[in-house]
Symmetry: C2
Subunit: 315 residues, 2 copies
């Protein structure tokens, strides 16, 4: 898609996709069919003559390299797009909120399957069914379901492993509505967990509350991360928090800003990001809670509704 500073964008698309796009696109677009990669290079080059320069966001190296060989002058300007995308407009927030509400419903369904003898795959299937029937535009990422020792892997896709009595079950899933994502995690318990798990869970919830209460516009991503990290440190659990506190959410499920020790940028009003503290004890267990939130003038606003809040297990 070629987006000029002024005027309508042009979408270059194969013959196979042009009819559907012309019927279903929700924004004004010039649509130009391209017959082959070479045809695309040619058409883009002709159009490029009208502009002083062309910047691109990001793309496979092979594509940029081919376009350069075809004589196009291109420069990467990802940062311009990143800046534009990380602060959301009202209509974008509305789409994300709808995605969050759908993700909540999927988590509520998943929670019904968390009991001894049910497999991780069954939990995922139940959640994805709700997402699909609710109109999620595919799944922004594979639903993660991790029970017992597998919950110590932060990104564990579901397996045939069956849930056992007392195990924590981490369910992390996303929905996409009008192109915008939501990303939520809840940890459910298949019966009463052991004391180590319960302690970790209470500490994670405390870290979540500290972060949600404490994050304000003007803080950097690393300062936000520290709020949760220091709370976990008080419980001696800091070393088990092996990822950042959160990441921006929008057209992609992971985008700027970064709420982590590397997050130098200031958080500002209108940013949407996750708050997701977790504790992972290698090979034993893991727990995590994750919300997609909006930063407003006064601080963090949850985009989850009543349902999402009720799904936070209090031991």
């Amino acid at each position: 898609m070629l987006i000029p500073l002024e005027g309508e964008a042009t979408l270059y698309i194969s013959r196979m996709g042009s009819l559907q796009t012309s019927k279903e696109a929700k924004i004004g677009l010039k649509i130009r069919e391209v017959a082959s990669p070479e045809d695309f290079s040619r058409k883009l080059k002709t159009e490029a003559g009208r502009f002083k320069g062309l910047g691109f966001d990001d793309a496979p190296y092979s594509l940029i390299s081919r376009l350069k060989k075809a004589g196009l002058r291109l420069a990467q300007h990802a940062e311009a797009v990143v800046k534009l995308r990380q602060v959301k407009e009202a209509w974008e927030i509305k789409a994300i909120r709808r995605a969050v509400r759908l993700a909540e419903e999927a988590l509520a369904e998943a929670s019904k399957y968390v009991k001894p003898g049910v497999s991780e795959l069954e939990v995922a299937a139940a959640a994805e069914r709700v997402l699909r029937l609710g109109g999620s535009e595919f799944y922004p990422f594979s639903t993660l379901v991790a029970s017992g020792f597998r919950a110590s892997y932060p990104h564990a896709e579901p397996t045939r492993k069956k849930i056992r009595d007392g195990e924590p079950v981490v369910v992390d899933l996303g929905a996409k509505v009008s192109g915008y994502c939501a990303d939520l995690t809840r940890t459910f318990f298949a019966g009463k967990p052991g004391e180590a798990v319960a302690e970790a869970w209470r500490a994670v919830l405390e870290a979540r509350d500290e972060a949600i209460r404490g994050i304000k516009p003007g803080m950097t991503g690393s300062e936000a991360d520290r709020l949760a990290r220091e709370t976990l440190a008080k419980h001696g659990l800091e070393k088990f928090f092996i990822h950042g506190l959160g990441h921006g959410v929008g057209l992609e499920v992971h985008e700027a800003p970064s709420l982590s020790s590397a997050g130098k940028e200031k958080l500002v009003e209108g940013m949407v990001f996750t708050v997701e503290p977790g504790v992972y004890v290698a090979g034993r267990f893991g727990v995590r809670v994750e919300d997609t939130v909006l930063l407003e003038k006064g601080g963090v606003k949850l985009l989850t509704g009543k349902l999402g809040r009720e799904l936070i297990s209090l031991l």
Copy 2:
């Protein structure tokens, strides 16, 4: 992942992923944790000193650009990897066959939902449930369900649109097993279709049979494509076949070789690709049938079993 010409590969991975990978990886690997993008550049640069040069397959432009700025000398050698990947070894074919069999089961389930009043979303949800419970590693792409006029869009994701009496319903889905994909399409009919649809369907099945009978090692991708295209031309339907006959299938659902008018490369034994003729009458209807097949010495071998063959509606 750094793969030397001799010896073990090294996987660079975040702390968050290293435990799971060390437990679940099915091949021998050196695993090195990286703390940040900068740490990755640094560690890769140290390692790179051992080699005459580093080639890469493909990657985001931003990543290659960052590594080059860190002083690494890198050259793109995608073609070497493409060549290696497009001819499959026996264990790869075995994984693809398992994925094909799972995709067949999902299509069989989907077919039960093709009746008037059922939405496209419900068909997709039913199919994806079978894929998920059967252990597909997520979904290689969104299940496509396109009914009636929407079937004239070759890549239509499912919507709330309800199937109507006599409509064709194109269901295109994939499964992934041990990292390898399958890609299958069937067209089902919600009752007796109109004569134009029935004629197009019979022509598509004839084009499929011609291609499957006619494709032999030594042919180019464009010659293979022509087998189907000429059959459709006999029925005056060539202009409605708006995409290539097929594409390679493997670790990715779309890879080399290309069976299309642009396919200059020779097809050889051990290649796995799709054969997927279709007819799309803009805004009115569409029909397509797609198999994932293996090229053997004597010609094309279907990887679908009895179930997949029985799912081809004969009018």
